[in-house]
Structures are given as structure tokens and as C-alpha cells.
């Protein structure tokens, strides 16, 4: 599904190298987790994959189902099936949440040569998805993320994911700022989308999210590289011993 090969990335504005040769292969239906200390490059990886400005790829490649990702515009990546659930979803005053979702969905369908969804069908679809995430009608009416609590923003991200039905989902620190109940809600939303074909990359600092979203593979990232890969037990090791031992081991 997602193949990342020797990815090197630096900041566009300054001479700061963030990713120093990342290799990652995620097969269809797999759930991978990336853990790592702050500043290891986890979020940068998600931004580079989704096409945010400000980063320069100096070497390496990334592809989604064989299609070269890094050449595409952000919207082309989305249409190709990539979805990033942001750590800090942006607020867009003046744009209604429903308008936003519908514009996005129909733009993607159009890009894939599919027919646009009618207003009625769309409404039905969103209402159904929103219900399971406990997103009420009011939240759908309000402008995108404006005045949303931290938990509401994250639920809204998962709602978008549910409506847009991407092939490859990246969750960037989706657990940050969530209380126990919200975490459960969000995880259930994610788990409901696991259908054996859709792949996930879960980026997190803590192990606790992985109690809810069980990964097949766990990677540890530090200083711009994946330094260790293992099964779910690797996450537990981090939880118990912290990152220090792992880092020392590598060095």
C-alpha cells in the first residue's frame, strides 16, 4: 500500500535535516504504529506524505499503491486515497463543516471519475457516520473546527476519514489532548474502518492509544530514522522503560 524508501527531508527555509533515510512498507490491511520521542521526525513524516509546504525532499521516494506520492499536489494525494488525521486540525471560519465535507467528497469523486453525490444521499451518509462518533447536528452546522474542543476536533477528523473512505490513513498523535472517553470514541471510530484492506499508520508518543487500536507492526523512530521495528510488544517495552534504553542500544 504505502512504500517509503530512503526518505531524506530538510526544512525549506533553513538547513535543518529532519528525516535522514526513512524506510517503511505497509501492506494492505496492515496497521503500523510509529512511536518516538519528541522531535524525532514523526509529524514531519506525516506532513511530507500529505504534501505540506515548507519541506524539501533531498533524497528517496514514497509511493501509494505504486503511484509516486511526492510528485502529487495535496489534493491529488487525497484523491489517490491518502488521508492524514491532523494533530492540530486547522480552524476555518466562514466555511460550514457540511459544505467542507461535501466539497471534499465530491472533489475526490470527481477526480476519480465517479459521480458526485446528491445532497440527499450525502446528508444521509454523513448523519449515519456522525451518529457513531457522537457528533451532533450542531457540530456539523458550525464552521470547520471553529470553537471545537480538542476532543471534538479529533472526532471531526475521524468523521472526515469515515466519509471520505481513504485507502491509507495516517493518524498523527490523534490521542493528544483526549480524555479516556474521547479516546475510546475515536478508537472505536478508527477500528470500525478496519476492513482488512484499508491500511493505517498510527503516529503516537504514548502506548495507550495502541491499547485501543492494536497495531500489527511497531516502529521506533529517533533522530529522523526508524531505529527499531517489532511487534506490539515493542510498544509495551517503551511504555515500561521509556525511549532512553532503545536510543542507547542503537548508539
Amino acid at each position: 500500500m504505502l512504500n517509503i524508501n530512503n526518505l531524506h527531508v530538510k526544512l525549506e527555509e533553513e538547513d535543518k535535516v529532519i528525516l535522514k533515510g526513512v524506510n517503511l512498507n505497509i501492506g494492505p490491511g496492515e496497521v503500523h504504529a510509529i512511536m518516538g520521542p519528541n522531535g524525532s521526525g514523526k509529524s514531519t513524516l506525516s506532513y511530507v506524505l500529505s504534501g505540506r509546504d515548507g519541506y524539501e525532499v533531498t533524497d528517496g521516494s514514497a509511493s501509494l499503491e505504486g503511484a509516486e506520492l511526492l510528485e502529487m499536489e495535496p489534493e491529488e494525494r487525497a484523491a489517490a486515497g491518502l488521508f492524514l488525521a491532523f494533530q492540530y486540525p486547522v480552524e476555518i471560519p466562514g466555511v460550514g463543516n457540511m459544505t467542507f465535507l461535501r466539497t471534499a467528497l465530491n472533489a475526490q469523486r470527481k477526480a476519480r471519475g465517479e459521480e458526485e453525490l446528491s445532497a440527499g444521499d450525502f446528508l444521509k451518509l454523513v448523519r449515519e457516520k456522525a451518529k457513531t462518533l457522537k457528533i451532533d447536528a450542531d457540530m456539523l452546522k458550525r464552521p470547520v473546527n471553529v470553537g471545537f474542543s480538542g476532543g471534538e476536533k479529533k472526532r471531526n477528523e475521524i468523521l472526515q476519514m469515515a466519509v471520505l473512505e481513504p485507502k491509507m490513513c495516517i493518524l498523527d498523535e490523534t490521542d493528544s489532548g483526549l480524555d479516556v472517553d474521547a479516546m475510546k470514541l475515536v478508537s472505536d471510530g478508527v477500528n470500525a474502518l478496519r476492513d482488512g484492506k484499508r491500511s493505517f499508520l498510527v503516529i503516537t508518543h504514548y502506548q495507550r492509544l495502541l491499547d485501543h487500536i492494536k497495531p500489527d507492526v511497531v516502529h521506533i523512530m529517533a533522530a529522523g530514522r526508524i531505529i527499531k521495528t517489532g511487534g506490539p510488544e515493542l510498544a509495551l517495552e517503551v511504555e515500561n522503560n521509556g525511549y532512553a534504553d532503545l536510543l542507547a542500544e542503537v548508539q
Binding site: 495535496p74 487525497a78 476555518i92 466562514g94 466555511v95 471534499a104 467528497l105 472533489a107 471520505l164
Partner: protein, 427 residues
């Protein structure tokens, strides 16, 4: 103080070909207006209130011919049920207009009013304009009061069933129209006024509105999309107790547009909202100059102006809230924002507060900048293509101004207009 010779000459040249109808109450009002104009002279770039807009084209002896964009886009407000009054090249066109008979309303033509004894109009024509000359002189409005060729006089006594729609058309490419409308809403009356259409190559307009106690006046206008067009418009309104005044203007293109809006809240608990959404491309110069005077207690005023500019377009906002001594519990709000889509565009603003009462809540804000890159990226990451994402954000930016339109059908019509404009400009 005598006017400098250069100003006298410029004025003489400007009014040389204009006709000053004599006789009757209107003739007297016109002569007084000419006296006001002669004392002031025409505006120049050196005047404080013209520092950001060069009035030369507006004050030149003649209008230059305009290229009108006669695209087949259906006119704005087409789907709205309304009473249509049409002006062609600045003259009322009875044949093209609806029969001006509607319950709760009296409609007269200015060109025919001079000899008639329309007593209510006598207390209005040029009267609000005169009040609006202080402290900021507005010579073009005085010129209009003196030389207006036509216009409409409307007295509203009840709740009018449908909007009155003033439609401007042109036959000549070089028409230089001067129209003057007066509207008097008696206590408790209600009227919605619509205005649209490319009036003339150069259009000088005054609208005087007296909103009586408890009366409600809604005004929505769409200024033409035509590129080569000059317009200087003035609204002078006076609000009685618990009166409501709401005016919204959509401007898309036009070489130079100067919209003056002078509001005076003289009755307690009155509300005045004035808003504008402007989208300009290339040699577009758009100037909103607003002056709101609070002279009574517990009044509310809102000014919401949004401009989207590209390819060297220039947006100007000069807005002032004046709170007179004793106008306690005033709530004054003003926001002016511009979205500059490229580096050649300019936004020039002077948002002023002048306050002589202490128990007030007044604020203004002004921002200028490029489109929010983070929001753009967020939209694109959800699959919305760049151009469409930009349009969405432009509409979102303008939304606060459009929200000032109370009638949903009209607001939707305006929104549709904007979408159409954006669509045309996406390519």
C-alpha cells in the same frame, strides 16, 4: 474664504454643460445645492478624505466611454419577485418599468416633481445631503443635488409586499448619469430596496433615506461587474427611534467606485448596519467611505467591509464612528478586512473612532493579508483542488459581510453571484 482660482475653474468646467432646472420647491433646493458646491469646490487628491482615491476621473468635465461587459449571465435579483423601476442612461424608462402602484407606497419621478407639491419630499431633498456635509465636505453629493436629471421619490406608509427594485441600464457607451433618489419611511413602515445594473460610463448617485420611528429599511445593491465604469454614490440616512437601516453592497470590478455612506442615528435604540463585499481584478479601485454619527442613546451601528483584491486592484476603506456627547450606551462596531491574492494589490484603510460619551462600547478591527496557507493545505489534504479551495476560502472570507443581508433568498442570490465571479476567474 474664497475658493482658489484653480478650483473655481475646475468646477466651472465640470458643470458647464449641466442643466439647472428652475422653479418650484425643487428649483430652490437645487440652487441651494449649487451654492454649497460653489463654496466647497470639487474634491482633489489633496483633500484628507480623498487621500487614497484620486477623484480626477470623477470630477473631469466629461466621462470617458466605457466598455460594458454584456455577458449573458442572468441579471442579479432575477428570481426575486419585485417592483421594477428602470432607468436607462439616467432617465426613468416607464415603458420598461412595472406599473408603480403598490399598497403602502407612493412613487413619484424626480423629473416631474418640480412643479408638483410633494410636501414630504421638500423636507428631504438635499436636506440630509446638507447635514452630511459637516464635518466632511462631500462636493460630489452637492453637485448631484443641484444637477440630478432624474430619480425616484418614494414615500412608504406601510409594510410593502415586495421589494422595490431600481434597475439601471445604458444605451450609450459614454453616458454620464446623475440620479437622485429620496425615500421617506413613515413611522412603522417597511421597505426593501434593490439596486443593480450598469448605469452609465460615469454614474453619480445620491440616495437620501429618512427612516421614521420604528421603521425598517433594507437596501441591497449589486454594483456592475463591468470593467470600465466609474461610480460615485452617496447614501445619506437619518434614523428615528427604534428604526432599522441595513445596507449591503456587492461590487465586482469597475474601474473606480467610491461609495459614501453617511448615517445619522438621531432616535434612541436605532440600529444601522452597513456592509460591503468587493471583489476586484486589475485596474479596480474601490473605496468605501462610511461616517456613522451616534446622536441618541442605546443605538447600535455595525460596519462590515470585506475586499478581495488581485492583479493590482486597490481597496480603500475609510470608516468613522462619531459618538456625540450624551449618546450613552452606544454600541459601535467596525471591521474592514482585505484578502490580497497577489503582491500587486493594495489595501488602504483609515478606520476612525471619535467618541465624546463615556458609557459606550466601540471597537474596530482591520486586517490585511494573503490567503491562509494552513487552511488552504487542510482543504487540499482532503482532496479539494487548489482553485476550488481558494474559492471556498474567498467565500468564507466574504461570508461575514453577506450575513448582514436579512432576506435569505436575496443573500443566496448574492452568494451565487460571487460564486459565478470566482468561477469565471478560476481559469
Amino acid at each position: 474664504m474664497a475658493l482658489p482660482q484653480a478650483k473655481q475653474d475646475a468646477l466651472a468646467a465640470r458643470i458647464a454643460g449641466l442643466d439647472l432646472p428652475q422653479g418650484g420647491w425643487l428649483g430652490a433646493a437645487r440652487s441651494e445645492a449649487l451654492a454649497r458646491l460653489t463654496a466647497m469646490g470639487l474634491p482633489t487628491k489633496r483633500d484628507e478624505y480623498w487621500r487614497y482615491t484620486d477623484p480626477t476621473l470623477l470630477t473631469a468635465p466629461g466621462a470617458c466611454a466605457a466598455v460594458f461587459d454584456d455577458s449573458d449571465e442572468p441579471p442579479v435579483f432575477d428570481a426575486i419577485d419585485r417592483l421594477k423601476l428602470v432607468f436607462t442612461d439616467g432617465v426613468f424608462d416607464a415603458a420598461a418599468s412595472d406599473n408603480p402602484a403598490l399598497a403602502g407606497i407612493e412613487i413619484e419621478r424626480l423629473a416631474l416633481a418640480g412643479s408638483a407639491d410633494i410636501h414630504w419630499a421638500q423636507g428631504l431633498y438635499g436636506v440630509l445631503e446638507t447635514r452630511g456635509q459637516n464635518p466632511v465636505p462631500r462636493p460630489l453629493a452637492a453637485l448631484n443635488s443641484a444637477f440630478a436629471t432624474d430619480g425616484i421619490l418614494i414615500r412608504v406608509t406601510g409594510k410593502v409586499a415586495k421589494p422595490v427594485s431600481l434597475i439601471y441600464r445604458h444605451k450609450s457607451d459614454a453616458s454620464d448619469a446623475i440620479l437622485h433618489h429620496c425615500i421617506k419611511l413613515e413611522a412603522g413602515a417597511e421597505l426593501t430596496l434593490l439596486e443593480n445594473g450598469p448605469a452609465a460610463a460615469r454614474f453619480l448617485k445620491v440616495l437620501e433615506v429618512e427612516v421614521g420611528d420604528g421603521a425598517r429599511f433594507h437596501h441591497i445593491r449589486a454594483q456592475g461587474r463591468d470593467h470600465e465604469r466609474l461610480a460615485a454614490t452617496h447614501i445619506f440616512a437619518r434614523l428615528g427611534a427604534e428604526a432599522l437601516f441595513k445596507s449591503f453592497t456587492l461590487t465586482a470590478n469597475g474601474r473606480m467606485t467610491r461609495n459614501d455612506c453617511v448615517l445619522e442615528l438621531v432616535g434612541d435604540d436605532a440600529k444601522a448596519h452597513v456592509a460591503g463585499a468587493a471583489m476586484g481584478d486589475r485596474s479596480f479601485h474601490h473605496d468605501d467611505t462610511v461616517f456613522v454619527t451616534h446622536a441618541a442613546e442605546r443605538c447600535e451601528s455595525r460596519q462590515v467591509f470585506k475586499k478581495v483584491l488581485k492583479n493590482g486592484a486597490v481597496g480603500v476603506f475609510q470608516g468613522k464612528i462619531l459618538v456625540k456627547p450624551g449618546a450613552q450606551k452606544t454600541d459601535g462596531y467596525q471591521i474592514s478586512q482585505s484578502l490580497l491574492l497577489d503582491d500587486d494589490s493594495q489595501f488602504l484603510a483609515k478606520p476612525e473612532l471619535e467618541i465624546y460619551a463615556d458609557d459606550v462600547k466601540c471597537s474596530h478591527g482591520s486586517t490585511s493579508g494573503a490567503i491562509d496557507e494552513t487552511a488552504l493545505y487542510y482543504l487540499r489534504s482532503r482532496g479539494v483542488p487548489l482553485k476550488q479551495a481558494q474559492s471556498l476560502l474567498v467565500l468564507a472570507f466574504l461570508a461575514e459581510a453577506i450575513a448582514e443581508i436579512e432576506d435569505e433568498a436575496i443573500a443566496d442570490d448574492i452568494r451565487g453571484r460571487l460564486e459565478g465571479w470566482l468561477h469565471r476567474h478560476e481559469s
